[in-house]
Amino acid sequence: MFDLIILFSRYLFLLYIVLFLWQAIVYIAYEQGGYLGSPSHAIAMQKGLIVWFHITAFLILSYESGKFFFNMETLAVGVAGLAFLLLSMMLLDKFYYEGCPLIWTGMLFLLDMSLIMLQRLEPMLAVKQLIWMALGIAIMLFIPFILRMIPRFEVFEYVYIIVSYALILSTLLFGTSKYGSVNWLKIGPITFQPSEIVKFLFIFYLSSVFRKRVELKELLITGTLSAGIVLLLVLQKDLGSALIFFMTYMVMLYISTSNEILFFAGMGAASAAATLAYHLFSHVRVRVAAWRNPWADIDGGGYQILNSLFAITTWGLLGSGLTKGMPNTVPVVESDFIFAAICEEMGILFGMGIVCLYIMLFFRGILVVIRCQRRYYSLLAAGVITMFAFQAFLIIGGVIKLIPLTGVTLPFVSYGGSSVLVSIMMIGLLQWVNVYCEQHEAGYQNTIEQNAESAEWNEWDGDDFHE
């Protein structure tokens, strides 16, 4: 009988995500001037779907065959998770008045996905992750206050980059290694990845510099400093983060200068650097070899990726059903390979739904970039989107063997305190930009800040660097 319920649940989960995505389309259509349905109804539906998704999954997870009642511990995590979701939905709307609701629901869906999958894989981690999520949301709620207290935080460009360097260098000096990369710091009982915090600072730094007109001087300084960070990350064997930082730099440079030649020159230089890294470092060669032909070294380099592929392909489009697969045979499944576990138990179609969910988030994020009337804020939003996009691409592409594997976390879903914390805060930043821009667009002519702003506009308004 329980088998039958799990069998149905596979269709149910797919239905949830399809409806969720459909409501996103309804909302976006309304924003773009079309009409497929009421946008507020769409968001209410999405919130409802998240709740149902959560309840369905936790009922299945807490079922114990042969017992009279559900597993109380699992049920407790489920209830706590539900409380967290409902509370977040309430508070986020309050603290970020006029934030984009679609970005909130998208984030909450992914966070819930993380809770469910971690509870399935390793219940202890789900509890920890829930605490990190709550902490992340709590901190995020105060971002608008902090940013309001310091109105011109773009002037601290050097502070951002100096702290970034300090954090990264500290891992080189005091860092501990995990999964082969020396990018963890240990303070008391807590280990965290400074590179996650540096992500935040890096976006602030680049936006601060690029808000002004980019001349050769800025190009050289930012280029050198960013290359330094990328290089240090490579030295820590954290190739994934290095790539993410590099791409963020390139994209933000491109958005602020609109110079295609610069963009492609940068990509060319990166390809050359990658080739060099391939010849210099054996661990890069191992990764590439495992990607090209994992079957050649099944017990060694190809082990991770093959087990991931086994998990994804074995059960087909609808998956094995929650709790019915064998995701624990995939190494680091709760962190880097969590996408493989999702595909295994909820199906490849559901996994594709998750990918579409990311596309939706990025689409809505780019809208924030485009709508915003101040360069600085546009660039902040663009930085956030680029970081997320490339991080998600690297790890999903890696676990399905589209590209060589680089160990980064899947934003919001993978287990990892610093990852979840920083991801949530970055979404907070994006939302704050959205709020800021929505507010200032309306009262553009008569706000006090308008004067200061137009002074800044004049600095580069009418210039000709984009010729």
């Binding site: 088998d3 099944i298 009337q373």
Partner: protein, 465 residues
């Protein structure tokens, strides 16, 4: 405000770049789900192969006559009704999984209409039934091949040329799939490696059967082949390599037809020199040497090592199927089959369709053309030569009363002991219904593959003519 507009345009472009990247992911996931799924998930390294849902009764494996080769017993064990006779095809399902048991694991394990079956099983208590896999293999022919092969190390492969259906695929040494778990240590350490499917995984020098490829290369790339004759004295010297004909027999003046019929090594060595290494390699690769042709069971790819810069002795050795040239019996049967099928090589397949618990048939394999490897004229020409090989040359032991057989024999020197014996061919020559390859390891006398081929062909023709 132009720079602001520029910025928006750039941001839009970045969005399209990101979208493109994620669509690549979606496309790749679809490829995993629809194209790569079977090949990846049926790997013996996949721990999920051993996952068995105890509530599902694993499906049967049947032959083309519908007879059950493998079924599940009440207590969930697998029963192999034909034991050794189809061992290398069915594989086993105890110490891991191999053969069709591995490749079609998920069909066997997946109940059709699972929801319906589960609901009805709650009321009726009937077991939930996995899907049956129906093979192209005909146990009547498979048994004849197995009986004739006896305890000679080797392999027999029978293919229907027009479709690529495998009618029989026999290899010895074999094993009893019913007792693999009990005898695991013995089987694993046995020097004769009975667990290796020699028909698909065994790589052997093809010997003189490769001359068919050499001849076909000349047909295409050496326009003077009809005028070209050779004075055979039983041996010839090339650079630092001496080529002998079998038993140093002098064949006198030979043209291509006589060279195929009598299997004259010296003729083909000289011909190869004129045709050139590159062309031979090209023709061999047309015939899927060094190339994957995708087959359900574990298999190895046949190899030709010739290169543009290859030295003369390597060219002449390859021309007569020695040197670094290696082929599997399955692949040699595919070559014979392509000649029989007017030059069209078909993709070999062994699963005909899937049969559901309610008798419905699904996923019927559609015969698939690999490539037109030679023209019809070339196919007819080489067929004539292969007919004379059986009617008056080295292949007379494969003659069948009342049926014209086309074929080519082979004797392959090798490092492991006495020569391997080969025969590839098809019948009836005019309108071929079955193609065959037989390989006997370290056969004591030259022709031992040939009479076996004749008998198996005869048995196959009784059913398929």
């Amino acid at each position: 405000m132009t720079s602001m507009n520029n910025m928006k345009r750039s941001a839009q472009r970045i969005f399209w770049l990101i979208t493109l990247m994620f669509f690549l992911i979606l496309a790749f996931m679809a490829k995993l789900a629809f194209i790569d799924r079977q090949e990846i998930s049926s790997s013996s390294y996949n721990p999920r192969l051993n996952y068995a849902d105890s509530s599902v009764k694993r499906g049967n494996i049947r032959d083309s006559n519908g007879d059950i080769l493998v079924e599940s017993t009440e207590n969930g064990n697998r029963k192999y009704n034909r034991s050794r006779m189809a061992a290398h095809i069915t594989g086993y399902s105890s110490k891991g999984k191999t053969g069709v048991e591995a490749a079609e694991n998920f069909e066997l394990q997946t109940p059709h209409n699972e929801v319906l079956q589960r609901i009805s099983s709650i009321f009726t208590g009937k077991a939930i039934q996995g899907n049956d896999v129906v093979l192209t293999v005909d146990m009547d022919i498979q048994s004849v091949a197995g009986d004739i092969l006896g305890n000679k190390k080797g392999a027999v492969v029978v293919i229907e040329p027009s479709t690529g259906r495998i009618l029989a695929l026999q290899a010895y040494p074999d094993f009893d799939p019913n007792t693999v778990a009990e005898n695991w240590e013995t089987l694993k350490n046995d020097e004769k490696s009975p667990l290796v499917n020699r028909a698909t995984q065994g790589l052997y020098p093809p010997g003189s059967t490769f001359k068919v490829i050499t001849a076909l290369t000349a047909l295409e790339y050496y326009s003077d082949w009809q005028e070209f004759t050779y004075e055979c004295t039983g041996e010839a010297v090339f650079e630092n390599k001496v080529i002998h004909c079998y038993n140093n027999k002098e064949h006198g003046t030979v043209d291509m037809k006589k060279a195929i019929a009598t299997s004259c090594n010296c003729y083909f060595a000289e011909l190869a020199k004129r045709v050139g290494a590159e062309n031979i390699r090209k023709k061999a690769e047309d015939f899927y040497f060094n190339k994957e042709y995708h087959f359900l069971l574990a298999h190895n790819i046949s190899q030709v090592a010739l290169q543009k810069k290859s030295e003369e002795n390597e060219i002449v050795e390859t021309a007569i199927g020695q040197g670094k040239t290696l082929a599997t019996p399955l692949h040699m049967a595919m070559i014979a089959s392509a000649i029989a099928n007017d030059g069209i090589m078909m993709k070999p397949y062994i699963v005909d369709h899937i049969q559901y618990y309610n008798g419905d048939i699904s996923k019927t394999t559609v015969p698939e053309k690999l490539e037109q490897v030679i023209s019809i004229e070339e196919a007819n020409t080489i067929t004539d030569m292969m007919i004379s090989c059986v009617s008056e040359g080295t292949g007379t032991a494969a003659q069948i009363y009342g049926v014209e057989v086309a074929g080519k024999t082979g004797t392959a020197e090798n490092a492991t002991g006495s020569d391997h014996s080969w025969f590839i061919g098809f019948a009836p020559a005019e309108n071929p219904k079955v193609a065959i390859a037989v390989m006997i390891e370290n056969a004591n006398q030259g022709g031992s593959a040939t009479p076996i081929a004749g008998k198996v062909l005869q048995a196959a023709l009784q059913k398929y003519q």
